[in-house]
């Protein structure tokens, strides 16, 4: 008389026996023939089936963590950088380990804005975000970034000491150098201050978006530190008065060099490497006061959906083969001490005999001064 109590799911889903029994049953008839008859499914309607499957699927729909085969999402720049990530990290290291990678390609600022916008969500949309060291410092300060568990990134122990920064995995780096066209320049400048000489008037070109990095170099040449922005501003006004030419992007410098519009620029060594390999034989000279470093790397957002895979990605990033691959194609130095460069690449990226001073910026002071520096640059250098 008493109906057996069945579990809740059984009200919504058919039991195993329900499912194994055929829905069409053979029924013997009075005439001796056998006819088929439809059997109504026991305790199951289409509505209950839909409701049940939805209920069971809900956790999987709401949380991508529960899906085992979910790929690791890397927020990155596009172009060569994205391609080299695929060719040096994703395909040779992670895919054989069963890890799929999806690149979320975009510029740094939208990527960072997205991280801020998603900070209150339990799960963000990227597992790893590529950022420059300065922006990396800012997002770490803003509390958006996971404190790195170094045991999960064993390659971190190989990081070059002056590139280390909490929460940030340095991937590639380069130095700011004086790049010149050897066809027109027989006596290359030795220091940023040499560019104030009237002989360079109208022959110096820089990328306007790198203004804050030039301010660091200007501070360095004037004071021996990268933090005196008042002195840097005074220097930049003098340089601007010497016919400084501004270009919207790095790529617009190459035609300016080729046409003879400019003879000298202040830019990353890696860029001169790429131009050299592109058949344009510019040369880079390390300024005697020291070269400011540009470091690009990756951070792990606190709300990254799959942190374990992200750690594996970060470790792969620092593998010697991956580091050497980036150096060979983009001219950035490896950030680890166990990826020596050899052959033509090694020669092109070798430091001069008298090792130049390589200066990692003081990101705290630069970050604090940046809004003012950008505003000042726009109004006094771009509009000056």
């Amino acid at each position: 008389m008493h109906e057996r109590i069945r579990p809740l799911t059984s009200l919504l889903l058919p039991s195993r026996s329900d499912l194994t029994q055929p829905s069409i049953t053979a029924v013997p008839c009075a005439d001796g023939q056998i006819k088929s008859a439809h059997r109504a499914p026991a305790q199951l309607s289409r509505r209950t089936l839909l409701a049940g499957t939805t209920l069971l699927a809900a956790p999987a729909i709401l949380s991508r963590r529960s899906q085992a085969a979910e790929p690791c999402v890397v927020g990155t720049w596009g172009g060569d950088y994205a391609r080299l990530l695929r060719e040096n990290i994703d395909d040779p290291i992670l895919k054989p380990a069963g890890i799929d990678i999806v690149q979320d390609v975009g510029d740094e600022d939208p990527r960072i804005s997205k991280m801020y916008a998603q900070k209150k969500l339990p799960h963000g949309t990227v597992d790893i975000a590529c950022v420059g060291a300065l922006k990396g410092y800012r997002v770490v300060e803003a509390g958006l970034i996971e404190e790195l568990d170094e045991t999960k990134v064993p390659n971190l122990k190989h990081i070059v000491p002056n590139l280390r920064m909490p929460g940030f995995v340095p991937h590639i780096y380069s130095a700011q150098v004086l790049v010149y066209n050897p066809e027109n320049v027989k006596e290359p400048p030795q220091s940023l201050s040499d560019l104030l000489d009237p002989k360079w008037k109208d022959k110096i070109g820089v990328v306007s978006t790198a203004g804050s990095w030039l301010m660091l170099a200007a501070s360095q040449v004037e004071t021996g530190t990268t933090t005196d922005f008042d002195k840097a501003k005074a220097f930049m006004l003098k340089l601007n008065a010497n016919g400084l030419r501004l270009y919207p992007q790095t790529d617009s410098l190459a035609p300016a060099f080729k046409s003879g519009e400019i003879d000298v620029s202040v830019i990353w060594l890696a860029r001169s490497f790429m131009w050299q390999n592109g058949g344009f034989p510019v040369r880079g000279a390390f300024p005697k006061e020291g070269s400011v470093l540009y470091v690009s790397g990756m951070v792990l957002p606190k709300n990254a959906p799959d942190k374990d895979t992200a750690y594996k990605y970060m470790n792969a990033l620092l593998e010697p083969s991956a580091q050497q691959g980036f150096a060979a194609h983009m001219g950035y130095w490896p950030t680890v001490d166990n990826a020596p460069l050899s052959g033509a690449v090694g020669e092109q990226l070798a430091l001069p005999e008298h090792a130049p001073k390589l200066i990692a910026p003081d990101y705290a002071s630069l970050s604090a001064a940046l809004p003012d520096l950008n505003d000042w640059w726009l109004k006094n250098i771009q509009h000056g």
Binding site: Y116, A142, S259, L370, P371, L378, Q382
Partner: protein
């Protein structure tokens, strides 16, 4: 009853588009308006507040005023040139009975098949030092180096090239709608073709010409790629300034305020143009 039916039909026809506009434009603009009243912080990016500081920063600084004035100046010049070039071309095209008319119309549309950034890259090749103009001037005419790149003239030329097809197409459809027999009637009464055009055709076309001018002006006020690529960093217009505020410091509140100032100025000046044109010529 008929009125109610008409209202119902209007609702059905306008409803989906209006709803889309509400969701895709008005709601995000609402968020942006709210952001423009927030306070910027280099670390937190945006701190919730209700402050007019971002608008005050813009209006209190002559630099930003200059950028706005430059944008308006360039937009007015471009609009005037586009109308000056577009009116005769569009009129001639509309009155053409040639079998090549369709081909000519396609030719006017053809530039729109190429993205504006690609076209701007073409202008860069033409304008730059060592570019076609420079080579022509130096080696053929022996007139010295010509470098038009990174100048207001380059930006104006580049924007005209992008906007002229829009102006031309708008004006052509306006002229197509004016009965050519009106001109014939004017001619039969002794009016010269130019007189017939200015006294008969142009007043009739004025509402359409206004629309073409407004379209041209709005597109120019919001130009981004051309000012960046052909104007260079020393030339400032509003859309690149907006992007600068966003991209250099992620200063969303100030960038949002610039966006609203740009939008308000464009709408205000467009409204002003409507007031300047005599009421009897307004679109009904």
């Amino acid at each position: 009853m008929a009125e109610r039916r008409e209202a119902g039909a209007a609702l059905v026809l306008l409803g989906p588009a209006s709803l889309m506009m509400l969701l895709m434009l008005v709601v995000p603009l609402g968020f942006l308006a709210r952001d423009s009243l927030n306070r910027y912080d280099p670390t937190e990016l945006m701190i919730a507040a209700v402050t007019p500081d971002n608008y005050m920063r813009f209006f209190a600084d002559p630099f930003y005023w200059n950028v706005l004035v430059t944008t308006i100046r360039v937009s007015i010049i471009v609009t005037m040139v586009c109308l000056a070039l577009g009116l005769p071309m569009a009129w001639r095209l509309a009155r053409s009975t040639s079998r090549w008319k369709s081909a000519l119309v396609v030719l006017t549309v053809l530039p729109l098949f190429i993205g504006s950034t690609t076209r701007t890259a073409g202008w860069m090749i033409l304008f730059a030092r060592g570019g076609m103009l420079d080579i022509l001037s130096r080696d053929v005419l022996h007139a010295g180096t010509v470098n038009v790149m990174y100048s207001e003239s380059a930006v104006i030329a580049g924007i005209i090239a992008i906007i002229l097809p829009f102006t031309l197409l708008t004006l052509q459809s306006v002229f197509e709608g004016i009965d050519p027999r009106l001109e014939e009637a004017a001619a039969s009464m002794g009016a010269a073709p130019s007189r017939a055009f200015w006294r008969i055709v142009f007043p009739l076309a004025l509402p359409g010409v206004t629309i073409a001018a407004v379209l041209c002006f709005i597109l120019c006020m919001n130009a981004f790629a051309t000012p960046v690529l052909l104007g260079g960093p020393r030339f400032q217009m509003m859309a690149p300034l907006l992007f600068w505020a966003f991209s250099n410091d992620n200063n969303w509140p100030f960038a949002a305020a610039i966006a609203f100032i740009l939008m308000g100025t464009t709408l205000g000046l467009t409204g002003l143009a409507n007031l300047v044109i005599p009421r009897r010529y307004h679109t009904r």
